[in-house]
Symmetry: C2
């Protein structure tokens, strides 16, 4: 456990070692970290936010969805495939059309919570990167 690491950072911990040990155990498990990041990454694109937001109001076919958010049919289909793989949306075929719905209402909650953060952050002045 205490093997020789790259030592890129300082050699020892500056805070209480006991607290560090406690922290190590309290951290989210690696597998959950990756799954969590994967989910958030899916929400981290304006196009997919629009897709999911539109679907949060009810079922839509690919064509209508594409027009609604101003995206090409192909691009919409590609995004839906990704969202479907992540189990964020679900598809249902009806004739030549395919209808999509949200597969998990948790997403709506995440959106609402995220919006709350965004709105609160909008009040304070945003810092610049450079």
């Amino acid at each position: 456990m205490a093997a020789a690491e790259p030592a890129e950072a300082c050699d020892v911990f500056h805070i209480d070692p006991a607290r560090v040990a406690g922290l190590r155990g309290a951290l989210i498990a690696p597998s959950s970290v990756d799954a969590l990041a994967e989910t958030f990454r899916a929400l981290g694109d304006p196009t997919r936010v629009r897709v999911l937001d539109a679907l949060s109001h009810g079922e839509l076919c690919v064509c209508d969805l594409a027009q609604l958010i101003g995206l090409s049919q192909s691009a919409t289909s590609h995004q839906l495939r990704l969202l479907r793989a992540l189990r964020l949306v679900r598809s249902r075929r009806a004739g030549r059309m395919v209808f999509y719905t949200l597969d998990d209402r948790h997403i709506v909650t995440l959106f609402r919570q995220g919006l709350r953060h965004v709105e609160e952050a909008a009040v304070k002045p945003r810092r610049r990167l450079a």
Copy 2:
């Protein structure tokens, strides 16, 4: 408003036009969409998830944080800069060291909500992309 669009998708809406009109008004505003996506994108990376998760348990200096999550000091600093610009973390200098904290407890709520989705999705079998 009803100008000639690229017409890449089908020419007309398939669902009730009235419902489409209602949908257009109910969608999240473009500026909010971008801000929301920007926030979620920040959470959509395993490294940043680890950083924020570690900080959710309390203040940490860059050095300790880097060691805790097994990342180089430089990479950690770069990520912290990004998170600071998004107002997700806040810094406090103490001598040569700089301590970081979460700047918004909403993030913790988002994590918890996200984990709930992840855990639920883990039960069902995941679909493949191809």
